[in-house]
Symmetry: C2
Subunit: 179 residues, 2 copies
């Protein structure tokens, strides 16, 4: 669908919200180099050729030491001219992940703190960012009512011209609708 | 959230699915320069600093002559190494738009055909791409059951450091959950 000669114009950032469904806790960090000590989900920039879910899993491991697996896409943010983007626009995607390990061994170069917080606490604390607070409320809703209420599911579909596959994220359709 | 020095790595493409709720039709085009005459939604690359919804509305107007307004985000695709991206990765977003005008005056340089098609026909024809077919099924479901079943809603939230605002897209929360 991109007809024009290509040049990159955007960064793509991905954060991972690792939710432990057994106790309602979520893995969060505080950045070392920010002025406000706000809890947020670990994340970073997507490499060219790297899938969204792979970025989330990689960044969570690098920052926190916790291994996880991709479950769904939760939100998409677009922002322009934010600090650190040097005048560029970015897309910032937050994924839901499930933990495979639980012990924290966080990167002290990047993070000041790292902890498993109650989702209910994260949803209502002032020590966080507006987007983290909003996604915590989404996750709390999912935890209580089922994550199918908040997830975008991923499916691989064939690309028309290249014979490759791509990942498409959207809300789940009833099975009768997919035909 | 982007801590690293910035360089752009991605393109962001946006397509607009203009749905006429009064008759269940959707605005589609066939590209002039493709080998397969597949119906798809008009769209193109997002300019730096341009919001997703603005890209969709602009591209629809440029390609089809139809004026429209943004309603929601429907799907996100990630694809690598596709033709036209020159080795880069891209994000491709499809929005739902509502028509403000209905007369077609399409760009003959870009498009071979442009028409309002029945959503039910688009969802089941072979003359389309897998992603267009899937999104047509999403839209058909929304048309029959309410678009709240398929939409990601947009909300503006304050950025922490810059004092600016950004657009966050996610599934709508029950009002009691937003507090």
């Amino acid at each position: 669908e991109s007809r024009l000669p290509g040049f990159a114009t955007h960064q793509v950032g991905v954060a991972g919200a690792v939710v432990d469904e057994s106790n309602g806790k979520v893995l969060v960090v505080q950045d070392r180099n920010k002025t406000k000590n706000a809890w947020k989900f670990p994340g970073g920039l997507s490499d060219p050729g790297e899938n969204i879910g792979a970025t989330a899993v990689r960044e969570v491991l690098e920052e926190t030491g916790v291994r996880s697996e991709f479950r769904s896409l939760l939100s998409v943010r677009q922002q322009h001219d934010h600090p650190g983007a040097f005048g560029m626009s970015d897309m910032y995607v937050i994924c839901r992940l499930s933990p495979l390990t639980y012990d924290i061994d966080f990167c002290t170069q990047e993070c000041l703190r790292c902890d498993w917080l109650d989702l209910a606490d994260l949803a209502h604390t002032d020590d966080t960012t507006p987007i983290t607070s909003r996604v915590a409320k989404l996750l709390l809703h999912g935890l209580e009512r089922g994550f199918d209420h908040v997830d975008l599911t991923m499916e691989e579909l064939p690309a028309v011209y290249s014979g490759k596959f791509y990942q498409l994220y959207h809300r789940r359709l009833p099975p009768t609708r997919e035909r």
